[in-house]
C-alpha cells in the first residue's frame, strides 16, 4: 500500500515526537513506530533532564558546557555541545508550558537535583519518572496537533531513487502487510541498542533498527565503539536504578562495607561520571570485593530516610521490591553495571541532517535525532540527564531543519518495485528451513558482547568477539521460525531485530579493536591511557563488500582544550 | 434529544436512597415486628386517617417509585445498546411508574 506525506518520522520517542511537532507546521507529517508511542523507551528514563536553570543555586550554560565536554572525555564536538546547553533552559520552559508535570520547589519552580558529572544541581525531574512524564506530554501534544500515527508499523528499509531517500518501507505488524511511505523528508529517531548486551537497562525494542537500516543503505555510522554502562542496574536483571538515587545522596558499598568510590573519585565520590563509576564497581567485583565475593555491590538509600525516598524515588522503591525482593527502606539494593546508552550512531550535522561521509557531506531529505543519532554532544561518555535533553533539543532542530529544507526538496515518485526486495527478503526469512533457534543465537551474541566488549576490553577479547559474530552470522542463515503467519508475527520481528544486532555489534567491536586507547566509556586494558595525539577523532564505519571499514574525522574544539580528566 | 448529563439523576438517586433508608426502617419494623394486628384493615385504615401517617406514606411511595424506576432505567442504560429498545423501555418504565403511583395514591387518599 502506498502513502504520501511531506515528512515521515520513524520512531515515537521524545526525539521523534518533538521533531513531528515542528515538521507538522510545514505540511503533512506522520510517525511510524513499532511500539505504541507511549511505550517507547524514553518513558523508562527516571532521573532527570539537564538545564542550567539555576533554580537550585547559581548555574549557567558555560558551566554546563564544561561539565559535558569534560564528561565526554573531550570527544564531543564543542559547537554542538554549546547549542545543546544554550538551548537547554528554553527547552525546559517550553516543555513545562506544554504541560510536563515537573517536581517543584517550595516556591513553585521546577525542582533540580544533583547528577553524576554535573557540578551543579542541574537535573530537572518529576520524581523518578522524568522520561515517563516527558514522553506522555509529547504524545499528548501530538494528539493536540493531530499528528498522524502509525503505531505498530515496523520500518524495514529505505526507498531510494536517483540516489536520494524518498521514503521508507514498513511492515504493519497486525496484518503482515507491507506499506510504502513516500516522503520528501525522512527523520530517523529509532533510539538506542542496549539489546546488544546481556545485562542492559534497555527495552526489548531497543535493537538499533534505524542504525542497521541506514548502514545497509550504505551510510556510515559514527563512534560506534562508545557504549555506556550505567553503574547501577539491579542485580541480576540489569533494570535501572536511576543516578538520581545517588543524586539524592545514596552510597555505593562493597563487600567489605567500604564506600570505595573514595579510592576512584575522591572529590565526586558516588557522583562521578558513569564511565568512572562503572569501572570502579566492575574493578571491585573483579577483585573479589563484591558482596560475599559475588558479582554485585550494594546501593544504600537507608540514611536518606523513608520520607525522602518515598517522595523522590517511589518507582525505585517499587522496582527494588519487585525485581530484587529488597525493601530499600530497610536493606541495601544489590546492583551491578548495566549496558545503557549508545553514544555513537547516525552521524548528523548540528541540525539533524544525516552525513553521507566523514568529510561532512549532507544527505538530502534524510534526518536523524535522539539516541540513534550522533551529533556528537556526548563524545566518549554521556553525562546523565543530557540525553533526554539531546533528544528534545536536536529533535526540535531536526524538525526545524525539515521545515527549512522542504521547499527545496522535490516531490518524487516511488520506484515501482520499492516493496519487492523487502517482500522477497521477508519470504526468505519466513520460509527458511534450518535447525537454529533465534533465541539461542541472540543469547550467545548478548553474552559474548557482555564478556568481550563490555566495560573492559582488550585486543584478544575483541578479536574473539569478532570471530564469534562471524559464526553467529552463519548460524543466523539457518534460523527456522515457528511462526510463518502474517498476523502479528512477533517472532519475525525478533528475527529482523536480531539481524540488526548482528549488523552493528560488528561495528562496535571493530571500532573498539581499532581504537588503541582508553577514552570515556571505551576502556582497553591493553591501552589504558588516553591518546589525544592519535585518537582525538571520531570514527565513521561504513559498509563495503569486504566488510566494514573505518574513516576518521577530527573533533571540533572551540572553548575547552583537552586536559587530564579527574574527579 | 436534549443533552443528558446524568448528574442530577445521580444526585437524586443518592439523596432519595438516604431518605428511603430512614423511612423504610420505620415502615418495616412497624409492619413486620410490632405485632400482626398492625397489618390488619382496622389498623391500616386508622393510620391512613392520620394526616401525618398519610404524608409519610405518600412521601415514601413517591421516593421509592422514583428511586426504583430510575434505577431500572439506569440498568437498561447499562445493558441495552439499541436506541429504539431504550425508548421502548423508557415508555414502559414511565407507564409502570405512573400506573403504580396512581394506584398507590388512590389507596392512600381513599381513607
Amino acid at each position: 500500500m502506498l502513502h504520501r506525506y511531506d515528512t515521515v518520522i520513524v520512531g515515537a520517542g521524545l526525539a521523534g515526537m518533538r521533531a513531528a511537532l515542528e515538521a507538522k507546521k510545514g505540511g503533512s507529517c506522520c510517525i511510524l513506530t513499532k511500539v505504541f508511542p507511549t511505550r517507547s523507551h524514553s518513558g523508562a528514563a527516571q532521573g532527570g533532564i539537564a538545564a542550567a536553570l539555576g533554580n537550585a543555586g547559581e548555574d549557567d550554560w558555560t558551566l554546563h558546557m564544561f561539565d559535558t565536554v569534560k564528561g565526554s572525555d573531550y570527544l564531543a564536538d564543542q559547537d554542538a555541545v554549546e547549542i545543546l546547553v544554550r538551548e537547554a533552559p528554553g527547552t525546559i520552559i517550553e516543555l513545562e508550558h506544554m504541560g510536563v508535570p515537573f517536581s517543584r520547589t517550595p516556591d513553585g519552580r521546577i525542582a533540580q537535583r544533583e547528577f553524576g558529572g554535573h557540578l551543579r544541581q542541574r537535573a530537572c525531574y518529576a520524581a523518578d519518572l522524568t522520561g515517563h512524564v516527558l514522553l506522555h506530554t509529547l504524545y499528548e501534544q501530538c494528539l493536540k496537533e493531530a499528528v498522524t500515527f502509525y503505531p505498530e508499523y515496523h520500518v524495514l528499509s529505505l526507498v531510494i531513487a536517483e540516489g536520494a531517500c524518498r521514503g521508507v518501507v514498513a511492515l504493519e505488524i497486525l496484518t503482515g502487510e507491507l506499506h510504502t511511505f513516500l516522503a520528501r523528508a525522512v527523520v530517523f529517531a529509532t533510539g538506542g541498542y542496549g539489546r546488544a548486551f546481556k545485562i542492559t537497562s534497555n527495552a526489548h525494542a531497543n535493537s538499533g533498527d534505524g542504525l542497521s537500516i541506514l548502514y545497509r543503505a550504505g551510510l556510515p555510522l559514527e563512534d560506534m565503539e562508545f557504549v555506556q554502562f550505567h553503574p547501577t542496574g539491579f542485580y541480576p536483571s540489569g533494570i535501572l536504578v536511576t543516578e538520581g538515587a545517588r543524586g539524592e545522596g545514596a552510597y555505593i558499598i562493597n563487600g567489605q562495607g567500604e564506600r570505595f568510590m573514595k579510592r576512584y573519585a575522591p572529590d565526586r565520590m558516588e557522583l562521578a561520571p558513569r564511565d568512572v563509576t562503572s569501572r570502579a564497581i566492575q574493578t571491585e567485583i573483579d577483585q573479589g570485593r563484591g558482596i560475599n565475593g559475588g558479582a554485585y555491590v550494594h546501593l544504600d538509600l537507608r540514611h536518606l530516610g523513608p520520607d525522602k525516598i518515598m517522595k523522590s524515588l517511589p518507582q525505585i522503591l517499587d522496582l527494588a521490591m519487585r525485581f530484587t525482593g529488597v525493601d530499600a527502606l530497610k536493606e541495601p539494593i544489590p546492583i551491578q553495571p548495566t549496558a545503557h546508552y549508545s553514544m555513537g550512531g547516525i552521524p548528523t550535522d548540528n541540525n539533524g541532517r544525516v552525513l553521507l561521509n566523514h568529510a561532512g557531506a549532507v544527505a538530502q531529505g534524510l534526518y536523524a535525532c535522539g539516541e540513534c543519532a550522533c551529533v556528537s554532544v556526548h563524545g566518549a561518555n554521556r553525562l546523565g540527564c543530557n540525553s533526554l535533553l539531546d533528544a528534545v533539543v536536536f529533535g526540535t532542530r531536526a524538525g526545524r531543519a525539515v521545515l527549512a529544507d522542504l521547499p527545496a526538496i522535490p516531490r518524487g515518485d516511488a520506484p515501482p518495485d520499492s516493496e519487492d526486495a523487502v517482500r522477497k527478503e521477508l519470504r526468505l526469512l519466513l520460509d527458511r528451513e534450518g535447525n537454529e533457534s533465534l533465541a539461542a543465537i541472540r543469547d550467545d551474541l548478548q553474552t559474548g558482547m557482555q564478556k568481550n566488549c563490555g566495560i573492559f576490553r582488550s585486543d584478544s577479547l575483541l578479536r574473539a568477539q569478532l570471530a564469534a559474530i562471524g559464526t553467529l552470522r552463519g548460524r543466523f542463515e539457518r534460523v527456522r521460525l515457528h511462526d510463518r503467519g502474517a498476523r502479528f508475527n512477533t517472532e519475525l520481528m525478533e528475527l529482523i531485530e536480531l539481524r540488526s544486532l548482528l549488523d552493528f555489534t560488528e561495528l562496535i567491536v571493530r571500532g573498539a579493536l581499532l581504537r588503541t586507547e582508553s577514552r570515556g566509556a571505551h576502556s582497553r586494558t591493553d591501552h589504558p591511557t588516553r591518546d589525544d595525539a592519535r585518537w582525538l577523532t571520531h570514527s565513521f564505519a561504513r559498509h563495503t563488500p569486504e566488510g566494514p571499514v573505518c574513516d576518521y574525522a577530527p573533533v571540533r574544539i572551540t572553548r575547552y582544550e583537552p586536559k587530564e580528566r579527574k574527579y | 434529544m436534549a443533552r443528558q448529563t446524568g448528574s442530577i439523576g445521580w444526585f437524586l438517586q443518592r439523596l432519595s436512597g438516604g431518605l428511603i433508608f430512614a423511612l423504610i426502617l420505620v415502615h418495616f419494623s412497624l409492619m413486620h415486628y410490632m405485632g400482626p394486628e398492625k397489618r390488619l384493615y382496622a389498623d391500616v385504615v386508622r393510620r391512613f386517617q392520620n394526616p401525618l401517617w398519610k404524608s409519610f406514606d405518600l412521601v415514601f411511595l413517591t421516593l421509592c417509585l422514583c428511586h426504583g424506576w430510575y434505577g431500572v432505567w439506569e440498568i437498561v442504560g447499562d445493558y441495552v445498546r439499541s436506541d429504539s429498545l431504550k425508548i421502548l423501555a423508557l415508555i414502559l418504565i414511565v407507564i409502570a411508574a405512573a400506573g403504580l403511583f396512581s394506584i398507590g395514591l388512590v389507596t392512600v387518599l381513599t381513607f
Binding site: - | 436512597g17 413486620h32 415486628y33 384493615y41 426504583g68 434505577g71 440498568i75 398507590g104 389507596t107 381513607f111
Partner: protein, 117 residues
C-alpha cells in the same frame, strides 16, 4: 471476539448484589402497592388476604425481603459515603462490614419473623 474471563472481587459482588436486590425490591414494591390496593375491597376481603399472606411460604419471602432491604440499603449508604469521597481505598473492607452486619441482622431479624409473632 473478546475475552471476559475475570476474577470476581468484592466490588463486583457488591455491584451485582446491589443490582439484584434493587430489582427485587422494585418488583416487590409493585406487588405490594397492588396488594395494599385491596383495602378498597373492604375489611373482610383485605384481612383474609393478609391472613393468607401470613403463611410460612410468605414468611420466608419476608425474610428475603428483609435481606434485600438491608443489603441494598446498607450498601447504598456505603456507596453514598464513598461517592462523597470518604473511605474509597477501604472499599473492600467496607463491603465486608456491610456484608457481615447484613448477615447478622438478617439472621436475628429473620428468626424473629419466622418464630416470633
Amino acid at each position: 471476539m473478546r475475552s471476559y474471563r475475570y476474577r470476581w472481587g468484592e466490588g463486583l459482588w457488591s455491584h451485582l448484589f446491589h443490582r439484584i436486590s434493587g430489582v427485587a425490591l422494585i418488583v416487590y414494591l409493585s406487588m405490594h402497592i397492588w396488594v395494599i390496593h385491596h383495602l378498597q375491597h373492604g375489611q373482610t376481603a383485605y384481612d383474609e388476604l393478609m391472613n393468607f399472606l401470613g403463611n410460612p411460604l410468605f414468611r420466608m419471602g419476608e425474610v428475603m425481603l428483609l435481606a434485600a432491604i438491608l443489603f441494598h440499603g446498607l450498601n447504598g449508604l456505603r456507596l453514598v459515603v464513598m461517592d462523597a469521597g470518604l473511605g474509597i481505598r477501604k472499599q473492600r473492607a467496607t463491603f465486608w462490614v456491610v456484608f457481615v452486619v447484613c448477615a447478622i441482622l438478617v439472621l436475628v431479624g429473620g428468626l424473629v419473623l419466622l418464630i416470633g409473632s
